[in-house]
């Protein structure tokens, strides 16, 4: 019996949902665990940085990193894991394009630290503590994994959905690996999976999810909700639109979308029809963005570090 592949899963600046997402595999997770050896997975087994440092280079078959890169320690750890791993996978929206924590790039590091000190956070060692007890230094800006190290594959999603995790695990365990750079999701936008009908395509108003109980059968975009479905890869089964919530783009842009925010704004501009009455209506097509609360958070909820230049030049 060939040796079981060694797998590492590491969690940088994220919410931990990606680690939990493995549980969504259900009983299949047991089959997977039986076929692998866990080299390092702090959320699951008691493994330390020193265990990783002791490993030979490239001895880990694949490391799955979730979370955005937010601290100096995050950066050190991913470089270390890169050195020890054959393959590195950006697992989840944060590792892929910065994720929700990436929205912090709208503020400078100093602003963030000031705000956090108000909550009792101290960037220095506790009184009487050793220097090494200090929390790791905060990077000037949040980064995606690929900003620091070479990333072989991406499993997108916030968190990744079981079918997408399954695609990755299937490839790793079978050894039938796709070309580097592959994103384990569909190339087509999730509209393909969405059962909602889209007939009279136009956007006459902009409403937020809490302002409308949408028609269960009609495209949310046609009802005024800014659904990022058209620019977002499928693979999630259009779970949110099926439940009446607009897609917020967690699976990331389709391969040719380029900057998904710009692509979406271009599409919305094409669909906009001004002059209707009522909440969320806009007086002229070029006033569409005025009707839209929080454009950056709408279009770049999971990808601000990847597409939007923010902060001072010296911070980048």
């Amino acid at each position: 019996m060939p040796p079981r592949p060694r797998i590492a899963v590491y969690w940088t600046g994220g919410c931990g949902g990606c680690d939990v997402s493995f549980l969504e595999l259900g009983p299949a997770l047991l089959d997977v665990l039986a076929q692998i050896e866990i080299a390092f997975w702090p959320a699951l087994v008691d493994t330390k940085r020193s265990d990783v440092e002791a490993l030979a280079p490239r001895s880990i078959a694949a490391t799955l990193v979730n979370g955005t890169l937010r601290t100096e320690e995050n950066v050190e750890m991913v470089h270390l894991l890169r050195e020890k791993s054959e393959l590195v996978v950006a697992f989840g929206a944060c590792a892929y394009q910065g994720g929700v924590p990436g929205l912090a790039n709208l503020a400078t590091r100093d602003e963030i630290l000031r705000r956090m000190s108000g909550n009792g956070f101290r960037p220095s060692p506790p009184p009487g503590g050793e220097a090494e007890d200090a929390p790791p230094g905060l990077l000037p800006q949040a980064k995606s994994l690929a900003d620091e190290i070479t990333v072989d594959y991406v499993v997108p999603g916030c968190p990744p959905m079981p079918p997408l995790i399954g695609l990755l695990l299937g490839a790793l365990l079978s050894g039938d690996l796709p070309a580097p750079g592959h994103v384990f999701a569909h190339d087509k936008a999730l509209c393909e999976e969405c059962p909602r009908t889209r007939e009279e395509r136009k956007l006459t108003k902009v409403v937020r999810p809490h302002e409308l109980v949408p028609d269960p059968n009609v495209c949310l975009l046609d009802q005024g909700m800014i659904c990022l479905g058209p620019v977002t890869r499928g693979g999630c089964g259009a779970a949110c639109p099926k439940a009446g919530m607009p897609c917020t783009g967690c699976v990331g842009p389709t391969p040719n979308a380029g900057d998904p925010g710009l692509a979406m704004i271009s599409a919305l501009g094409s669909l906009a029809r001004a002059g209707e009455e009522g909440p969320g209506a806009f007086a002229a097509e070029d006033r569409l963005l005025d009707a839209l609360v929080d454009p950056l958070g709408t279009f770049y909820k999971y990808s601000l570090p990847a597409y939007v230049r923010t902060g001072k030049r010296s911070d980048r």
């Binding site: 087509k188 999730l190 509209c191 395509r201 136009k202 058209p230 389709t254 040719n256 380029g258 979406m264």
Partner: protein, 667 residues
């Protein structure tokens, strides 16, 4: 260096681009240092040959390109010259003659974009950047073949007025089948309602009816009266039309026009043909020379198409032509081209508050006066006024009624009113020798062959009183119609107690023009008239290929113009019908079916309705005009323009804005 024998250019060996810079006499060379452009481009990656010529578009200039294509085995060509709208076809044809796919040649516009609009030292730099960008584009171009398609060989003509009749006859006489659709029970249109025509005073019906008869007898014209266009789908050369033919309840083949049915019909309604100045039965023939010559039973006025209610007409019909069960017909045909000649209406006189809102019986519009003057009209050609049938002794004609009045009515000039008012006044004077005719006018527009002479004749020989000024108010006073106006030449206030007032109402597009335009996907202008593709150079064409405009539906015009436009539209249609196959530029949008999610964002963007939604969008190559709107709108980048991909455009921008200094300030 001896070039190897010309062979099929191989693209795999890397691009071999030729650049040809035109001096355009002094147009480019004055502000652009042409030799420097040649020098700069010669060292651009991928360029193997660069040359210049005084006039690239001349035969010797084209020969330079052709020779270089063969000698240097070029895989792409950039001609730096004027706008591609001028000579793209010229140069692409030359490339094709030299064995290069024409779509591997692009124009770098260094005239309109550059030499004409700059004169500083940066002009040469910009010309170089534009040309380099086009070289980068050509590197990404693929050879394309024009899209070819078969087409239907019959033509649809919508509207059976004089313009539509002329178009139908010309097309049919050229050997093609014509489907002529007319909404009313007879063809003839407005011209059939006129008494005489200016400036020759020909009897309108006398010159029109021979053409109507020719239509009815023509073996290649299928006449569908009492019919309307229900829907139109398809595209140039292959339109699928559905025509709804309303039942006339009278078999035209059996009807012998004896008229017994109308005599016994208990119903009387205003006669549209006489503009309501006479009455007709529910079963009627619009006018004696109607084509097709058959009675029509007007379903709305009839007591009920039911023998239990009334069947007087059917009882007296000897040839048994009346059939109450005649069904509505839906006729479907494929046509290669469509001529739209739906004509005009008059702007409603009820809209003229200042002239009595249409409530004064003796204030009539021009077409009503035409009927009064007509031998076949309600007064048998005698001029009698509607209210009491008296012969009017003082008649006021008001020009520009509703026209040239942007504040209240229509801003445009209706073009024919000056002429027909002169004709009306003149015919009135011929009819009523002791009558007085006044004409209020803003100014006289008599541009047309023998038009001015006609107006002068009316003014001088017929002693018609032309008063320059507008009429402020028209109101009824006893059996008179009082007209208040001003003669702006003398500054005097004028008051005329007239017996009859004739309003030269503005021409407006006939009812339903906009609805038909929507069905045809053609545009209407602000005033509702059909819009042409180019006001100077494409006046007969709609923007949608294969649809042509004729007559007053396109804008106010007189009979000779409407006829000329009918013939012109026919010639345009024949050019399509006669072509062995139709070709279309292959520079169109295409869908990457592996990326399209069927989100349908593109579909409403397309101004040509070229995209069909589905699991993946589908672009009809023949309908697509390559505008790129869908490409910009496509959120997932699944739509792309052939030979104008995002990658090409980005590369062009990079090169055009490239950081390396390009000759700036060295001129």
């Amino acid at each position: 260096m001896a070039s190897p024998a010309p062979s099929a250019p191989s693209r795999s060996a890397g691009p071999r681009i030729g650049v040809f810079v035109c001096h355009c006499g002094k147009n480019i060379a004055t502000t652009v240092d042409v030799p420097r452009v040649v020098e700069a481009l010669a060292s651009h990656p991928g360029v193997v040959y660069a040359a210049r010529h005084e006039y690239m578009c001349s035969d010797p200039g084209q020969d330079v390109i052709k020779k270089a294509i063969q000698e240097h085995r070029l895989t792409g060509v950039v001609v730096a010259a004027c706008s591609p709208s001028m000579h793209e076809t010229t140069f692409r044809t030359a490339a094709e003659e030299a064995g290069l796919n024409p779509y591997l040649l692009e124009i770098a516009n260094i005239r309109e974009w550059c030499s004409w609009v700059h004169d500083g030292p940066e002009t040469t730099d910009k010309a170089i950047r534009i040309t380099r960008a086009m070289v980068e584009k050509v590197k990404g171009n693929h050879p394309l073949e024009p899209v070819e398609v078969d087409h239907a060989t019959q033509c649809l003509v919508v509207g059976g007025g004089i313009s539509g009749i002329q178009a139908a006859l010309d097309i049919a006489n050229a050997g093609y089948e014509v489907l002529l659709v007319e909404r009313s029970p007879s063809i003839g249109g407005r011209m059939a309602q006129l008494s005489e025509t200016f400036p020759t005073l020909d009897c309108s019906q006398c010159i029109l009816t021979p053409k109507m008869v020719e239509v009815s007898r023509h073996p290649r014209i299928r006449l569908l009266t009492y019919s309307e266009v229900e829907s139109v789908t398809g595209y140039l050369g292959n339109y699928h039309v559905v025509i709804r033919k309303k039942p006339t309840y009278v078999d035209p083949d059996k009807c012998n026009l004896c008229g017994e049915c109308a005599k016994v019909c208990p119903i009387r309604v205003p006669n549209e043909f006489d503009r309501g100045l006479s009455q007709r039965a529910a079963i009627y023939v619009p006018f004696p020379q109607a084509v097709p010559s058959s009675y029509t039973l007007d379903e709305e006025s009839c007591l009920g198409l039911n023998p239990l209610r009334c069947s007087e007409c059917a009882k007296v019909c000897e040839p048994k032509a009346i059939d109450y069960d005649m069904p509505e017909e839906m006729i479907e045909e494929d046509v290669g081209a469509i001529v739209v000649a739906t004509g005009y209406d008059l702007y409603g006189k009820e809209r003229m508050a200042e002239y009595g809102h249409g409530t004064v019986p003796d204030v009539i519009d021009g077409l009503e006066f035409e009927r009064i003057l007509s031998a076949g009209g309600p007064t048998k050609g005698e001029v009698r006024r509607p209210s009491d049938g008296k012969v009017p002794k003082e008649v006021v004609f008001i020009q520009c009624s509703g026209s040239r009045d942007p504040e209240l009515h229509k801003s445009y000039c209706s073009k024919i009113c000056c002429m027909y008012t002169a004709k009306h006044a003149l015919l009135y004077r011929h009819n009523v020798h002791d009558g007085t005719a006044y004409v209020f006018y803003i100014d006289i527009r008599a541009g047309g062959k023998e038009y001015e002479e006609f107006v002068v004749r009316a003014m001088e020989d017929e002693r018609i009183l032309y008063l320059r000024g507008k009429v402020a108010k028209v109101f009824r006073d006893g059996d008179k119609v009082v007209v208040w106006g001003v003669d702006t030449l003398t500054g005097k206030r004028i008051e005329v107690a007239a017996d009859l007032v004739v309003l030269a109402q503005a021409m407006v597009p006939s009812a339903g023009t906009e609805e038909l335009a929507r069905k045809l996907h053609i545009a209407c202008g602000g005033e509702g008239f059909l819009k042409e593709a180019h006001p100077k150079l494409r006046p007969l064409e709609a923007l949608t290929a294969g649809i042509f405009l004729a007559g007053a539906a396109h804008g106010p015009k007189d009979i000779p113009e409407a006829v000329a436009q009918g013939s012109g539209a026919a010639a345009k249609a024949i050019a399509i019908l006669a072509a062995p196959t139709l070709t279309h530029s292959p520079e169109v949008a295409e869908v990457d079916e592996d990326l399209c999610s069927g989100c349908v964002v593109c579909v409403p963007q397309c101004p040509y309705s070229a995209i069909t939604p589905g699991d993946v969008a589908h672009v009809n190559e023949l309908l697509c005009e390559g505008c790129g709107t869908c490409v910009a709108a496509c959120p997932s980048g699944a739509m792309r323009m052939k030979n104008q991909t995002d990658a090409q455009v980005k590369r062009m921008i990079q090169v055009a804005l490239g950081a390396e200094p390009v000759e700036v300030g060295r001129a």
